[in-house]
Point group: C2
Chain length 345, copies 2
């Protein structure tokens, strides 16, 4: 049952009885050799155990066929979903992806970038940390390899390709919905871990002003940069309710995880959010976390189209790779959010 192990293409060529360059061509694409030799090679491969050396393969190629992906944080279903879609899109585009997680540490992010550069990856997709991200790292990446930002865009890098959600639209959409169906919402901010936090906040304020309402933001934490969104949401709303607010407001949370914490706070105060009761407490989120349909009550939110974002970012990256327009005009693609009306608002 144990097949003899063959370590190099040279040995393999000898074992099968073809020349090494022919083998090389076969591995690049079996159609490049004659049908009969192709079969001969296939039969030979079935008889031995051989895997071409990854490093040797990439060492002397113009293109490595690798796309590097840097994600800030994995313990968040939004990012794991996004990453999954990105990997699948890249696979379909014929690239293999190597993904690294920053663990919300700029040093690790920089290391990942360094590592990708040293691998001569064909391109890099980065979902950046917030202000913590080292701007120099992004600069270097951009000047060396095809480079696209996803999800969140540092204000310091205006001329970079970017694919993300149109937060003005998405946040505006749910703000407008909340105003239309009930009282104008208060905005429960999230820790400023990235630039989307601020973008949503600003979008909320703009839409409120547009509709002639007075915007109110609670839960701003300029200093702390943590990812304990649920605890943040619960603490802020709990304090808010304890301060004597009667719980007949609409609360728009900066994201679903904050909203889940808020739902919890409401429940602890004996309140049951929902759009049914006129004037009652309502809570809405943002992102359409997979758990939203299962919270009690099910969370009304606005979905980010991360599938489209993933596909678009990969296809943009591939376009840059193909045409080598490293210095071309930066392209910004923003996708609309979609309202998911459930029970909580």
């Amino acid at each position: 049952m144990k097949k003899p192990k063959v370590n190099t293409m040279e040995e393999l060529a000898e074992a099968i009885g073809v020349s090494r360059p022919t083998l090389s061509r076969y591995f690049q694409s079996p159609e490049l050799v004659r049908r009969t030799t192709s079969l001969k090679i296939q039969r030979g491969l079935a008889k031995v155990e051989y895997v071409p050396n990854f490093f040797a393969t990439r060492l002397n190629r113009k293109s490595t066929g690798i796309i590097g992906v840097i994600i800030p944080y994995l313990n968040d279903l939004f990012f794991s979903n996004l990453l999954e879609c990105i990997e699948i899109a890249a696979m379909e585009a014929g690239y293999s992806v190597i993904s690294k997680c920053s663990h919300s540490d700029p040093t690790i992010e920089a290391g990942a970038a360094e590592s990708f550069m040293s691998m001569n990856v064909d391109g890099v997709l980065v979902a950046p940390l917030g202000n913590q991200s080292d701007a120099d790292v992004h600069q270097r990446l951009q000047s060396r390899i095809p480079f696209v930002l996803v999800d969140s865009r540092p204000a310091t890098m205006p001329d970079v390709d970017f694919v993300g959600t149109n937060h003005v639209q998405s946040t505006g959409l749910i703000t407008e919905y909340l105003c239309r169906v009930g009282g104008p919402p208060v905005f429960l901010a999230m820790p400023r871990v990235n630039f989307n936090a601020l973008e949503r906040e600003k979008a909320y304020i703009a839409k409120m002003n547009e509709l002639g309402h007075k915007p109110t933001v609670i839960g701003v934490q300029p200093v702390e940069n943590h990812w304990h969104f649920e605890a943040h949401g619960e603490a802020v709303l709990s304090a808010h309710l304890a301060r004597g607010q009667l719980g007949n407001e609409s609360i728009l949370c900066a994201n679903d995880r904050v909203a889940i914490g808020a739902l919890r706070a409401a429940a602890r105060h004996g309140l049951s959010p929902g759009r049914g009761r006129e004037g009652g407490l309502r809570i809405a989120g943002h992102d359409d976390n997979p758990l939203c349909p299962f919270t009690v009550p099910a969370l009304t939110t606005v979905a980010q189209n991360f599938e489209a974002i993933a596909k678009a970012s990969i296809s943009r990256l591939v376009a840059i790779i193909r045409t080598q327009v490293a210095g071309g005009a930066a392209q910004v693609q923003l996708f609309d959010g979609e309202l998911k009306i459930r029970e909580s608002a």
Copy 2:
């Protein structure tokens, strides 16, 4: 501001004014060259932009310093947490990790394994899919590289190093708790995506028999292998309650995500699970998903010690790598679960 780009060590050696082998030694460890030359090299490095080629570096080395990690599914906070801990543990052990996600597809899992073998990784950590996993792939991995299984262990591979949770203990623990504090629980099974599903089920049955109660399992789906645990939990419990069960049972769910679905079903039937009411509905989970403290009611569960699992698996893998005992006696390490009593049971 722009530093001149240096592509090869040779160019770098010339630019700095030392020989290439000296540089090579410096990069392996700066202590290997004289203090003065070390400083000279450092000053030189500061003046140019140079990153050593990753592939060339690994091509001709006995050890690549890479650990490959294969995870079955990323859109689950348990696995993303586990992966995070594994990455950090490996980092601390001086290895860089490359992680691949199977996306619950045996073909992708096999491809990832292939890829790791072609990279001559020093070792591989695999959290396998269930019965879907290709046993041959694991066999090949084991016969070629240091190899450790994590989280779930195929019954077909008894003589492999394994690190995971002691489900007999953990499930027994919560079963015993539920029996002690209220009525003996019904077990709400999860889709059989891996072997843990069955292990927990068996552990529940064993503990119930031990305590002299009649075990009851609902929600078994032998065919479907999906990861929509919440929907599964909601559907099963909803049907169960609709069948006229009065909702005064204890429900032990196979994992927290199933339990979150069950909580939802309970809420829709007007029931509010909790240990407070004598004889009322109680719902418990397994895993201690990060969201458990924030569900309504907060979910009572039993935590897996994934931090310990991650550390132990990496340290076991490193031990195998160091001693080259590929054929040594397989070691199984099981970690106990810890009861997390909250509100739901």
